[in-house]
């Protein structure tokens, strides 16, 4: 391109001017020009008229419809029981189901509902009245073995030593009985005695005054 520019730089431009000479008017050409212009004007006018009319008519019809349709619709609807019609003709279950299928109800509630406000307004005492507190307490006591916990926290070293001595006694009893039963070729012993041991008795405050001597 730079080489081209260099070529232009070296080129010379020579302008030669001379007076114009008007040609003679052609009659055929003039007639044709007049005709073409007339046809174009007529076409343009017709098109414009048509558009104007169309627009005017559309506006008029629309405004007429705007006024008339609500009145007609109201009149029609007044004469129809729309609710019954919907109930009769529309499968509402399917509509509701498809609606519910389409949305995550839980998320909707979480997003839109103030759960704290609902809980705050709820009558908790009425709920608690219906909750089986005592069975729950019993259940908890059983599950955590509360008697054992109380025992662990109340019996001191002396109690544990006593338990230990007794436990060793029981172990020695079983060991000796096992050895002798093996020597005598016996199988087990009948150790169930009548009566209930006091250690499994229920503790009752009101019973503490009772004297067993009067019983026998």
């Amino acid at each position: 391109m730079s080489s081209d520019a260099r070529e232009y730089e070296v080129a010379e431009v020579v302008l030669v001017t001379r007076a114009a000479e008007p040609s003679a008017p052609d009659p055929v050409e003039a007639i044709r020009e007049i005709f073409t212009s007339s046809v174009g004007l007529a076409t343009y006018t017709a098109t414009t008229m048509a558009a104007l009319v169309g627009q005017t008519v559309t506006t008029a019809v629309n405004s007429a419809l705007d006024r008339a349709v609500p009145m007609i619709a109201d009149a029609v609807i007044d004469r129809l029981d729309l609710t019954d019609l919907v109930i009769d003709r529309v499968n509402l279950t399917r509509v509701v189901e498809s609606t519910l299928d389409g949305m995550d109800l839980t998320q909707l509630v979480l997003d839109r509902v103030d759960i704290d406000a609902i809980v705050g307004a709820a009558d908790i005492e009425a709920v608690i009245d219906r909750v089986p507190i005592i069975p729950i307490a019993d259940y908890v006591i059983d599950e955590i073995d509360l008697p054992q916990i109380i025992r662990d926290s109340t019996t001191g070293v002396a109690g544990e030593a006593l338990d230990s001595v007794r436990r060793q006694g029981v172990g020695a009893d079983l060991l000796l009985a096992g050895i002798i039963d093996r020597v005598l070729l016996r199988r087990g012993r009948d150790l169930d005695a009548p009566g209930e041991p006091e250690s499994l008795d229920r503790v009752s405050e009101e019973a503490k005054g009772a004297d067993p001597r009067e019983e026998s």
Binding site: D138, D145, T155
Partner: protein
């Protein structure tokens, strides 16, 4: 772990939470009420006899000290013979008398404790209790009979090891049992249902008296 739902279901089917073991190690509940074996019972008996022996020694010591007030002129030494006692040559009673005293004391001690609570001190330490054939406290007469029998014929305890039902000769003859009963607390305070039965019994007797 049982869920609360399961627990409730069990309750509906008649399950009652067993909370009657307030002061017992959970693993010891299993053998409560079973007949005890030889070792526990022998240890308990030895504890009792040692206690009685200590009581006899204490009595001798007390008598010796009292003798300085009662009989200050006695110059005798510690000779526990009948002759020495007869000749006022000693300040302590003859050995024969003290042994007899020990036996009597032993019988009285066992009788009283068995009749009152079913337990002597040795039984309490080893977690044992003497019961009659119905499983209740032995009465005074039965306790006396058993105490005499045990004191006179202690070797009868050996039968526990051989018996299929852990019974000593005394247990067989008097139809008693010695059971594991690890009660904690004061043993002769009867508790719970028994007391209710007792009240019902009294009420019943009262009603009969009215009619």
């Amino acid at each position: 772990m049982t869920t609360f739902r399961e627990y409730r279901a069990a309750q509906l089917h008649g399950f009652v939470a067993d909370r009657n073991v307030p002061a017992l190690p959970t693993d010891a509940v299993r053998f409560q009420g079973e007949r005890a074996g030889l070792v526990s019972r022998a240890v308990a008996a030895i504890i009792d006899v040692v206690l009685i022996f200590a009581a006899v020694l204490a009595t001798i010591a007390a008598l010796w000290m009292l003798s300085f007030i009662i009989d200050p002129t006695n110059t005798g030494n510690l000779t526990a013979s009948v002759e020495a006692a007869a000749d006022r040559q000693t300040r302590i009673p003859p050995a024969v008398a003290m042994v007899a005293y020990g036996y009597v004391l032993n019988v009285l001690y066992w009788t009283a404790f068995w009749a009152l609570s079913g337990r002597t001190v040795g039984n309490l330490v080893m977690g044992l209790r003497v019961v009659n054939r119905k499983g209740a406290h032995p009465g005074w007469f039965l306790s006396l009979a058993r105490a005499l029998f045990c004191t006179i014929f202690p070797i009868g305890l050996i039968w526990v090891a051989l018996s299929r039902r852990n019974k000593s000769v005394q247990d067989v003859v008097l139809r008693t049992n010695v059971i594991y009963d690890w009660v904690v607390g004061i043993p002769w305070l009867k508790q719970g249902d028994d007391a209710e039965d007792l009240r019902a019994e009294r009420g019943g007797i009262g009603d009969e008296a009215h009619t």
